[in-house]
Structure formats: structure tokens, C-alpha cells
Symmetry: C2
Subunit: 378 residues, 2 copies
């Protein structure tokens, strides 16, 4: 017998209600029955995005909605500013380059978050910038950006603020309207507790003006097409019907728990995980602005990070993530995002302790679990 547990920053585990919803017989998408689902989804997504703007549902990975932001807001030759603090920040740069948009890149050291003052200074020197691209939770480093402060800076300019919240939305606070965020992008397989396959995209009025001017070529990701269909409670192309129906269930579950409670739960799980790591003598990768969605720690000296992740997964059934990009083999990333309870975190820490101990890392067995429990009992 091997029981498996998923503690990765996407996909995240599915609640049984979601598994059930996914297993239902399929219905046709151009029916009153599916329209009722789309209508409820549209309403509840606004709650999750903390916005009054339309939230479009795309059938793609999260990257598809990132591409939709770039190609609908900008035109060839435009200037954009990219806050690049990890692998997913780099994706904004690559997307801009693919479409002939000139990215001014603010390179942030991996594991750090950008000082909003630097953003302000850069923007004041670059008045032609039309869009600022950033990341809510940089999954590759476990760092959360100060979106509220970025919003205060960008709303004073002509530029729009675009946030990749694929990782983090529905798990940590992002107040689209109150913070002045113009475009928020997310995906189904993280905070929303769904399988991958859907991406979401909310657009402010300020951003919609750019959509109307944009000359980037597009078709599948054309937001004008999406808007035209959305206004008739429809989608421009056949959507991933099954996942949309499951999304409706997920949003009901989230609404019932309440977003304030969800954010508090994630914060507590993150605090417990960070306390456990420190108690085990591991070094947090993101000391300031550590994300409440995923915790990144450095692999201790003398330990093979990739082997550690593989052993946890293949021998004990507990899947966490290793490092990506330049941090490959050097990081462990434990997600506490979505359908994760305090005891899932305990078992994840226990498994990490067991494998670290077997691999010869010196620490007091049980120290991590104890530290987490002390946070969780508060």
C-alpha cells in the first residue's frame, strides 16, 4: 500500500466534491443549463477577484491568460515594464519579446521582493511604459510581491498594472479594485482547487481602453471576442465544460468558507510551515515577503535536493516540489495552498524529517512537527 499526498504549488489536491463534479455526464455548452452555471461562475469569480470588472474564463493553462494580457493590451513596438523576480516573472519578459514589445526589465534577486520605491523611480524615468507586469506569488521563489504598494505607484501613471496571480489568488489577499490593479490573471489548479485547464482574466476600465487600441495579432485569446460572448453568457469557443462546472462548485465552497477565513487559514499553515523549517535548521529562501501559498527553503549543504524530493515522492508518496530554473536542486518548495488542512502540513513535515534524517542531515527528529503544532494550536 502506498497512499499519496500532494503538497505542490500547482496542481493542488481536489476536494471530493470537485472530483464528483468532474465525473458527471457532460452537458452541451450552448444550453440554458450551462448558461446558469456560467452566470453563477461569473458572479462568484468577481468575489474571488475582489472586483466589479468582468472576469473572463479561458480554456488554457495560466500562461494562455498571461499571453492574452500581453496581446490584448499592447502593440508591436510598445514599451512595457517587467518586474522579474523568478521564473514566472521571466515569462512576462519572454511573452513581451515574442510579440515585439520592448520589455524594460527590473531584475529582482531570486528570493527577494521589489521595493515599490524602485518601481516608482523606474516608471518616472520611463513615461512611455504602457503596462507593468508583475507576479503576486512567485512560485519559483516563494515570495509575495507588495501588490498594494505597486498599485499605489502605477495608478498615478498612464500605465496599467498587470498581475500574474495564477499562484496565490484565492489563497492570499489581492484586492483588485481597492488596490488599483488593472488586470489580474489566474488559473484553476492552485487556490481554486481544480485540475489545470482553465485560466481567468479580469480587466479594469483603464485597461479596456488599451484593449480597444491594441494591434497585436490574436484570435483564440482575443478579449473582444471573449467580451462579446461574455455579454451573452456564452464563451467564444467550446470551453472546458467539465472544469467550468467544477469551478462553480469550487467557488461555492470558497464562498461558504469566506475569503477572509481562507486567507487566515493559509497564513496559519504558512506560519506553521516556516516555523517547522526554522526548527529543523533549514534556511528560508524568502526571509522577507515570504508567501503564504508556498514555502521555499534551501536544501542544506551535503544533501542532494533532487534525490530528497524523489525519495519523498517515490518511497513515501508525499510530493513536494524542488527548485526551478537557476535554483534547480537547491530548493525545496512545500505548498500550503488550496485544499490543504493543518494535518496535511504535519504529515508533509514528518515525511521531510524522515527522509532528511535518513539522508544524514543532523537535526532533532520531531522538531519540525513540534514547531508546526505549536503554531497550529494557537
Amino acid at each position: 500500500m502506498k497512499k499519496t499526498y500532494l503538497l505542490t504549488p500547482g496542481p493542488t489536491p481536489l476536494p471530493p466534491e470537485i472530483c464528483e463534479a468532474l465525473s458527471r455526464p457532460i452537458i452541451h455548452h450552448r444550453t440554458p443549463q450551462f448558461q446558469a452555471v456560467l452566470k453563477e461562475v461569473a458572479e462568484n469569480l468577481k468575489g474571488a477577484f475582489q472586483t466589479k470588472n468582468d472576469v473572463f474564463v479561458l480554456t488554457s493553462s495560466g500562461t494562455g491568460a498571461m499571453e492574452a494580457s500581453v496581446v490584448n493590451l499592447l502593440s508591436w513596438g510598445d514599451k512595457a515594464l517587467v518586474i522579474q523576480a523568478g521564473k514566472f516573472g521571466e515569462r512576462w519578459t519572454e511573452l513581451c519579446q515574442a510579440y515585439g514589445i520592448k520589455p524594460i526589465v527590473i531584475d529582482v534577486e531570486w528570493g527577494k521582493s521589489l521595493d515599490p520605491q524602485v518601481l516608482k523611480e523606474t516608471l518616472s524615468k520611463e513615461p512611455a511604459v504602457k503596462a507593468v507586469f508583475t507576479t503576486l506569488c512567485e512560485t519559483s521563489t516563494g515570495v509575495t510581491s507588495d501588490i498594494k504598494a505597486f498599485g499605489q505607484v502605477v495608478r498615478e501613471t498612464e500605465a496599467v498594472l498587470v498581475v500574474d496571480a495564477i499562484s496565490g489568488l484565492g489563497a492570499i489577499d489581492l484586492q483588485m479594485d481597492a488596490w488599483g490593479v488593472d488586470v489580474v490573471v489566474s488559473g484553476s489548479q492552485k487556490g481554486f482547487m481544480l485540475p489545470p485547464g482553465l485560466a481567468f482574466l479580469a480587466v479594469s476600465k483603464k485597461a479596456w481602453k488599451l484593449v480597444e487600441e491594441s494591434k497585436c495579432p490574436k484570435y483564440y485569446f482575443d478579449l473582444k471576442k471573449a467580451k462579446k460572448a461574455y455579454d451573452k453568457t456564452d464563451t467564444p469557443f467550446t470551453p472546458a465544460i467539465g472544469i467550468v462546472i467544477a469551478l462553480n462548485e469550487a467557488l461555492r465552497i470558497m464562498k461558504a468558507e469566506g475569503f477572509e477565513n481562507i486567507f487566515a487559514r493559509h497564513k496559519k499553515l504558512a506560519d506553521a510551515t516556516r516555523a517547522a523549517m526554522v526548527a529543523m535548521g533549514l534556511e528560508l529562501f524568502s526571509s522577507d515577503a515570504a508567501s503564504d501559498a508556498v514555502t521555499a527553503v534551501r536544501v542544506p549543504a551535503g544533501i542532494d535536493g533532487e534525490k530528497l524530493v524523489k525519495t519523498m515522492r517515490d518511497e513515501y508518496g508525499v510530493t513536494i516540489a524542488g527548485g526551478q530554473g537557476e535554483m534547480k536542486g537547491k530548493l525545496l518548495r512545500i505548498a500550503h495552498m488550496g485544499y490543504i488542512s493543518e494535518f496535511d502540513i504535519i504529515l508533509g513535515i514528518a515525511c521531510l524529517e524522515k527522509v532528511l534524517k535518513k539522508m544524514g542531515y543532523a537535526f532533532e527528529l520531531g522538531a519540525g512537527v513540534k514547531a508546526a503544532q505549536e503554531v497550529l494550536i494557537k
Copy 2:
């Protein structure tokens, strides 16, 4: 009690094995467990596409893979030829226009299929054409194109032949390699008996040369990225994991039945449906080249076509499709594609008879069912 039945040309009904696969706990996509699935899927998709070429799996609607064909094969200013015989043919034209490609459109009357001789003549007059775009089964009209003959014409030229087989693949015969087709596009929610959310795309060596030269901007649908990942049994972005796992099951089911048997089953169901329509005095929309995936008939004079479809669905639980585009309200489309048995067809015809009779259309009740049974007992 209302029991529901789906006889639409996408989505098509899901076998219980597929519903079960969709309801499983999610697994991470960068694991040996998922790689084993991807490997089996890659192999079995080649069988379904009747090709030795790589078949890429994209997370999108079928239209995403159509866009991928256009943006990976061509560059701004290139000439393409579009065989436009219905709503989905028009999509090729729109896609070309969106990316600055000049489409030479062969407009085929809805309900008809193009004479390959016309294709030959047009191509000989337009030697600069780099790609010919066509549709296997034009779902909006219920017509199948003579792809084998198109292949014979196009293989003699520098151009590549690109077939939208979203509707039809896995239900009717399309021999990619033997017929000289360069790109075949398909989707999950038709012949493959899955929910929508995945698209497939196979590329010949001749077409890959164009991929290497193409200058259309792209990122999410970049086939070079897809190929690089594919060669490592990976995907460039988080795929719709759940549907990929279900695809693996669907391909196993299809392989077990055998593609020859699948095509024969679809032909028999189509023959039965067409015989039923004729016996009820209804006029087939596509008299020549009628598709074995979906049957289109004209709404008889004096009958409200949209009301007919709504009544079947909302009062009796049997969903068929009406007309699209210029044929809205004027057509009925009954699909016999995917997980459809002979008795599903019988019940669909029985429901159509019941509603037509109640709406005052004059015919002998039972004539359609009887005609279908006579075909099916052979």
C-alpha cells in the same frame, strides 16, 4: 424524472470509464507517473491519427490548435488557400486574416463538398500558396471533404495540406501519412469521447520545414516549445492533467475496439440516421459526401426549427443541434459520433418523430425508427 441524452456534434457523451478517470485524485505533471501516461498517449495518438509524426497535445479548445497551425506554418504577408464550406471553414479565413496572412478563399456552397479538380486548378494558378486549409467534417453542414483527393493534389505542390479534423477524427477515416496530409488538428470532445479542453496537432516533415521558417508571433501555441518538451515526454506548460489521463483511457478503449470497427460503426449509424430522415420525408442537407459523424437535415416548411430543438431538449431531455451561421433555424443536426450506440440513434429518432408529430408535421409515426432498424439489423 427526466433522463437526458446527448446527440450533439461536440461535446459527445462520456463513457463511464472516462467519467471515472476524470474523478481521480489529481497527480503532478512533472512526475514519472504522469510521464508514463504522456508516453502511452503519444504512442496511441499516432494510431488514431494514422501517422508516424509527433502528435502534440495542447490545452485549449480545438480552435487553439487551428491557430497553432496558422501561426507556426506561416508569416505575415504569406498566401494561403482556404476551402470554406461552412462555419468552420470560415474560421480558417478569420485566423489567417488575424495574422496578416492573405487567404485565397474557395467558397463552397453550404451543404456541398469541393471538387478536387477545382482545388487543383486554383493551386496551379496560385503557386505562391504555402498552405491549404480545409475541414474533414464540416460540422455546420454535415459534409465530409474528400481529403484523400485533396492530398493527391497538394502533395504535388510546394504547399502543405492542413486539415481541421476536430470533428470527425477517431470517427471517420483520415489516413494522415498515406493520404499525404501535412497537419491534422483535432479536439478532445468529439470522436475521442472526452470533455472539451484538449486539442491535438500532428505535423509532417514537410510542414515542420515551414515551422522552422515561420515568423508569426507566438508563445503559448509555439510548436518549437511543444516539440522541445515532447522530446522529453513533457509539456511546455501545465497541461489539463485530468483530461490527459482520461485521454489515455479513451485511446485504450478505441484501440481495443479497433479503428476499422469504429469507422464501420459510425458508417452504420449514419446510414441508419439518413434512412430514417428520408423515411420521415425530411430532406438531407448534404446529399453528396454526407458525413458519417453528423447528419444535417433541413427543417421542414411550416416548422419552427429552433422550437423543435428546444422542445426535444427541455421537454424530453434529448439534445440535438440546430443550424449555425447562415443556416440558423433552418437545420437539424443529429450527431452519431463517439460513445453512441445504435439504440441511442433509435431513441433520438423516436424523440424527433414525437415532437415533429406534435408540431403538426405530416408523416407516418414510426417510419423513421423502422427505417433505421432495417439498416441496423443488416
